[in-house]
């Protein structure tokens, strides 16, 4: 597998770790952030960060393609 694709997969795992497996650790109200209970803030923050993470994954995969293009 190309390097960029591999890193993209690792990036793609981040939302799953933060939004599924980390949940029992952040199941709390305090500290209240931006007026939201901490668990809701955590979920919202990572949901909003997911497009950013996917954007970087997209860029990494694009890099694979352009590298490939140079070799050809």
């Amino acid at each position: 597998m190309q390097k960029g694709k591999k890193y993209a997969l690792v990036l793609g795992a981040i939302p799953f770790v933060m939004l599924v497996f980390a949940l029992p650790l952040v199941n709390r109200i305090h500290p209240v952030v931006l007026g939201l209970p901490f668990i809701l803030f955590w979920i919202l923050a990572w949901v909003m960060l997911t497009p950013l993470i996917l954007f970087f994954a997209y860029r990494l995969e694009q890099k694979d393609d352009s590298d490939e293009g140079e070799e050809e």
């Binding site: 029992p24 109200i29 979920i43 994954a57």
Partner: protein
């Protein structure tokens, strides 16, 4: 007739007329009926996608759970984001296969990949059985909306009946194109309603989100963390439900099809990057549910929280506007769902399984007839077997997520066999049905559908390895 009821009726009749007009000049063949002749631009595809994702469930179910269950509702905010992340990695591979072999439906994929018509028929049947509770959900929601908006003067059964006739009318005449056109009306009304009410009610009653949560934290802190106001929906249930619904999301027959309709695999990836922003309105809908809990405690049915609060806060015409948005929000997904379910039956159960020589005309006629049959079943369920909206949705997910191993192994693992997939689907589905019927859901703290999926994955791998060895032996 009050102002609210008049506005609702006007909007749903106008929507139906728009939907019927959409297909007036088209000769309705199977291609136009299900995939709009494959000429949809990016914008219409986007509208359809939003039309599929934002359903009555988002409106009433999410606020209903925030109201009655509390924190476990947060799963609804999460699973979409994870589903889009998965789609980024899985859908492009699916798109390539779809393009190479000219696939239309989900069973088409199974038939081609595993060279098994039986598997195709089985997948089509499970798809249809999973769609029915999702359809029922739309109709039940619509009934609630009209009943509240009319102050109880219109019984929900009549409202469901009217919407049933109108929806069938535009599906009949215009197919998917009708749904896409009505989706425009629906998306505008729905987003406007959610933003106005979501920002509005916390400010009107408490002066903002923060102040509303302050009072909530003081009064009932346990409502805001898992397991909320339930006893059985602790962290483990939330985690397993998020995984179940995130993995199942693109396995819905109608969502799965979107992988085939895109112009290129890059479009799919770019789409996946921006899709998580679709989740923002859900946060606003939670706010309405939480505000309702403080302002109107003790509602018998949590699904009524959104509507009851709007009814109490805003003038009647605005209630009509929200009710109209909600009603159309039920009709569009209902149209899309019934269209796909009927096509599954006519194309992948009848043509694939029973009569391979059936002409396209016959399949088309059968599709139209099945629209009536499936809608009638859902209508009867909605009227006689009322259920909580979220429960209905999760029930559908229990079924469709069973396709996940077959789809994903099929794309990325050469060693998977049709016996493996078949055994996996049967074992997973059978186990879920058993757990639900014997009232063992949740099982060991986990969502029963997720347990079924785990069993499905293990059986698929195990049987695939076994049957693969057989194949190699017979070859040598």
């Amino acid at each position: 007739m009050n102002a609210a009821l008049f506005i609702i009726l006007a909007v749903i009749v106008i929507s139906a007329v728009v939907g019927i007009t959409a297909g007036r000049k088209l000769k309705m063949n199977l291609e136009n009926w299900t995939v709009g002749g494959r000429r949809f631009g990016v914008i219409i595809i986007w509208l359809l996608m939003a039309g599929e994702i934002y359903t009555t469930f988002t409106f009433l179910g999410a606020s209903g759970w925030a109201y009655s269950k509390g924190a476990p509702a947060f799963y609804i905010l999460v699973y979409g984001a994870l589903a889009y992340t998965l789609s980024f990695f899985i859908l492009p591979a699916l798109w390539k296969i779809g393009k190479r072999y000219g696939l239309h439906t989900q069973p088409d994929y199974f038939i081609k990949r595993y060279n098994s018509r039986f598997l195709g028929v089985l997948v089509a049947l499970i798809g249809v059985f999973s769609i029915i509770p999702y359809l029922q959900l739309q109709l039940t929601g619509l009934g609630l909306i009209v009943e509240v908006a009319s102050n109880g003067t219109v019984r929900s059964a009549y409202a469901i009946g009217i919407a049933f006739i109108l929806t069938c009318a535009f599906v009949f005449t215009s197919g998917i194109r009708g749904a896409a056109w009505v989706a425009i009306i629906k998306d505008v009304l729905m987003i406007a309603a959610v933003f106005v009410v979501g920002f509005g009610v916390p400010s009107i009653y408490f002066g903002g989100f923060g102040k509303m949560f302050n009072i909530q934290i003081e009064k009932m802190p346990e409502h805001l963390i898992f397991p909320g106001s339930t006893t059985h929906m602790d962290s483990l249930w939330v985690m397993s439900t998020i995984l179940l619904t995130a993995l199942g999301f693109y396995m819905w027959p109608h969502v799965f099809g979107s992988a085939f309709s895109a112009k290129s695999d890059k479009v799919i990836k770019r789409n996946a990057v921006i899709m998580p922003f679709y989740q923002i309105p859900i946060l606003l809908i939670f706010m309405v549910g939480f505000t309702a809990l403080l302002v109107l405690p003790g509602l018998e049915n949590g699904d009524m929280a959104f509507l009851s609060l709007v009814n109490q806060t805003y003038p009647s015409w605005f209630m009509g506007f929200v009710g109209a948005a909600g009603a159309v929000t039920a009709m569009v997904p209902a149209a899309i769902l019934v269209l796909f379910a009927s096509t599954l039956i006519s194309k992948n159960v009848y043509q694939t399984g029973i009569n391979p020589n059936a002409s396209e005309d016959t399949v088309m006629r059968l599709s139209r007839f099945m629209v009536l049959v499936i809608m009638t079943f859902s209508l009867l369920f909605a009227i006689f077997l009322p259920n909580e909206l979220v429960n209905l949705l999760i029930l559908g997910y229990d079924g469709v997520c069973q396709f996940f191993p077959g789809v994903v192994f099929g794309l990325f693992w050469k060693g998977v066999t049709k016996q493996g997939v078949l055994a996996g689907i049967l074992a997973g589905t059978g186990f879920v049905v058993f757990l639900i019927l014997s009232q063992n859901d949740p099982f060991l703290g986990m969502n029963a559908g997720f347990v079924g999926l785990l069993i499905n994955i293990m059986v698929t791998i195990f049987i695939s390895l076994l049957t693969r060895a057989d194949v190699q032996k017979t070859k040598s």
